[in-house]
Amino acid sequence: MRNFVKFGGLLAALIAGTSTAAAKDTFKVGIVTFLSGQAAQSFGVPAANGAKLLVKKLNAGEVPAPYNTPGMGGMQIEAVLIDEAGGATVQVQEYRNLVQREKVDVVIGYVGSGDCLAVAPVAEELKTFTILYDCGTPRIFEDADYQYVFRTAATATQDNVGLVRYLKALGVDIKTYAGIHQDYAWGHDSWVDFKAAMGRIYPEATVAAELFPAFGAGQYGTEISALMQRRADVIHSSLWGGDLQSFILQGLPRGLFRQAQVALSTADHVLPPLGNNMPEGVIIGARGSYGYMAPESALNTWWDAAYREAYDNVVPVQGPYRMAQALLGLKSAVEKAMKENGGVKPSSEQLSAAMTGLSWESPAGLIEMTNGKGHQAIQSIGFGRTQKDKDGNIVLGDILHFDARCVNPPADKKSIEWIEAGFPGADCD
């Protein structure tokens, strides 16, 4: 279950160093993501690749400004990569190993919401600065307060609020809609958020079907028949990874994507593997302005080019982007803390104080730790619709972005209550 990959250029520390005290230190980061299992190909391995690349570039001081100083506060980054597979119990043990045996300074990790929920209290117990970089459940900071735990990516709330706003912005006429989601917390939560947002933005629309196939089901023939027979105007899905690819491959020849407007809340990661086998006219989200939907900036241009160069021209999707914004946020917090403590390696308490309420630029735009008492990020989100370019290749068109404050609740509101109340305080101008 456990796979250690250590990397980091210790040699570079001798020639780097903005602070002599810091240059002697290394900054050890435990990175946890899926290296095996179903989420590895879609999220984990791309994120791990992004981490390896960015750590290397940060250590060499090759990232564009404002991140062009080597390492973190002059300290070379040493990363310890751990597989997230195995479930929450295993991950709690792995987390303890990282902190108590590997003696990491911070932990960045976790795609699975169950893993985030399980690890957060342990991080508090061990008083270790921890960044949750990917998991989506809003419950982490809505149901509890933490001192040492932060999440540098937005919650899943914006997936569905943003998606409904995007449908409205495109002028999609919806009388009926249907949903197909995996039968576990992620799928059910996504559907609840989507239905609640539809209730406010398309109050006349009714649900034609709601399907919850098993995670990893593989066979969707019956579900596709049921969806086609109900003839909904829009089909919403939070399927991901192999399940989503199988659903697309099985639905395409049966005409599902011609019959209804299909809206996939977190599907950018299937575009590189499916390529031109992806049907036209499908709405794609990614819980952020990532990859094909990333905003134009010097930082994003560099990141996109560096990732493609390192990984055989593969387009970076949400996994590596989210990992990058976590590492860049960490660098910002480390260097802010070191400015305040005289330039020595910051403690977890100092890092927590520096990260609370912090904002920083990422390849996906501005990340702001405004929610969860300064521990939960909000960010903008982009959506697009697949179309063919002049060469017949599938690309994303109709790309629209929504501001972070348009698709995320204000700091003092719980997500579902905010949606059901009609998005009070949302700023969509």
Binding site: F212, P213, G218, T222, L249
Partner: protein, 298 residues
């Protein structure tokens, strides 16, 4: 009426896929008395085999229809390479031991196959779309179905009849039936039981791999494909009765149609209904629907 037809047709397609896989599982149990958890891993290997074999033969300039044959070849290759390795190399040392121990051993093989598959093929997906486009689309009721999916019904019937014919109408099949009934007496009569066990296990592996190979055009072939199929296949053989071929057929039909009904009428219970049916059968027929009553041996 249209809805009932659609439910039955969707259920039948799903049942066909399940039956091909469950048939191998029940055959191995019937002959070797092994509940083979590794069956799911062998299914996945069949899918990977097809994803390699189809483009390989296409690259040799073979016609498009040959991709269907390539999937058979892939399944046969998995059976020839893997079955002796598992059966002769591992399982034979545990015949006659506690069934729970053997189940755990096959579970270990399942985990090993998962990791070996990942080491060989990586975590990135493989696609093999071509065979599914060969048979066109067919309008059935108010919906379009892919001809390939409907052809799976025929493949399942061929597999079922083939195994039945092999067991009941051939010499080696009759010897196998004798081994199932009385292994010790068969051995005393000069039957090479090891050969029968290897053959039966090989056919079981072939059927698992065939299920995977013919599913590969419908899915993205990647790690994790093996789990769900083994769980539902277990439900099928338990409903039908472990070791019974007609039981596997009826079990697959019951599961397929019950699941299709749930998708349309009770979607929250899509997964639950499979196990509800299983529990209901076990309450009234603890040994499954088709397990014959056996005289107790003293």
């Amino acid at each position: 009426m249209d809805l009932i037809f659609t439910i039955l047709l969707d259920g039948l397609i799903y049942a066909s896929w399940l039956f091909i896989v469950a048939l191998g599982l029940t055959l191995v149990f019937g002959v070797l008395k092994i509940l083979n958890f590794a069956h799911g891993g062998l299914y996945a290997l069949g899918a990977y085999g097809a994803a390699i074999a189809v483009p390989f033969f296409a690259g040799l300039g073979m016609p498009e229809w040959f991709s269907l044959l390539a999937m058979f070849i892939a399944a046969a290759a998995v059976a020839i390479l893997i079955a002796p390795l598992i059966e002769r190399g591992l399982l034979r040392y545990f015949y006659g031991r506690d069934e729970v121990l053997i189940l755990l051993i096959t579970y270990a093989v399942f985990l090993i196959l998962e990791d070996v598959t990942k080491m060989i093929f990586g975590v990135n997906p493989y696609y093999v779309f071509e065979p599914r486009n060969l048979l066109g689309n067919v309008e059935m009721g108010s919906l379009f179905y892919v001809g390939y999916d409907l052809a799976l019904i025929g493949l399942a019937i061929v597999c079922g009849l083939g195994v039945w014919f092999g067991l009941n109408r051939t010499r080696i099949g009759k010897i196998t039936l004798a081994v199932i009934k009385e292994p010790e007496v068969s051995q005393a009569m000069g039957v090479n039981i090891a050969r029968i066990y290897l053959l039966a296990f090989g056919v079981g592996v072939f059927l698992a791999a065939l299920g995977g190979a013919f599913t590969s055009p419908l899915i993205s072939v990647q790690p994790g494909n093996s789990v769900s199929v083994i769980v539902v296949s277990f439900a099928v053989v338990i409903i039908g009765g472990l070791g019974s071929i007609p039981g596997a057929a009826i079990g697959a039909l019951i599961v397929g149609i019950a699941r299709a009904f749930a998708v349309y009428e009770l979607p929250e219970a899509e997964i639950f209904i499979i196990y509800l049916v299983m529990v209901a059968v076990l309450i009234f027929r603890p040994e499954g629907l088709f397990t014959p009553i056996k005289a107790r041996k003293i």
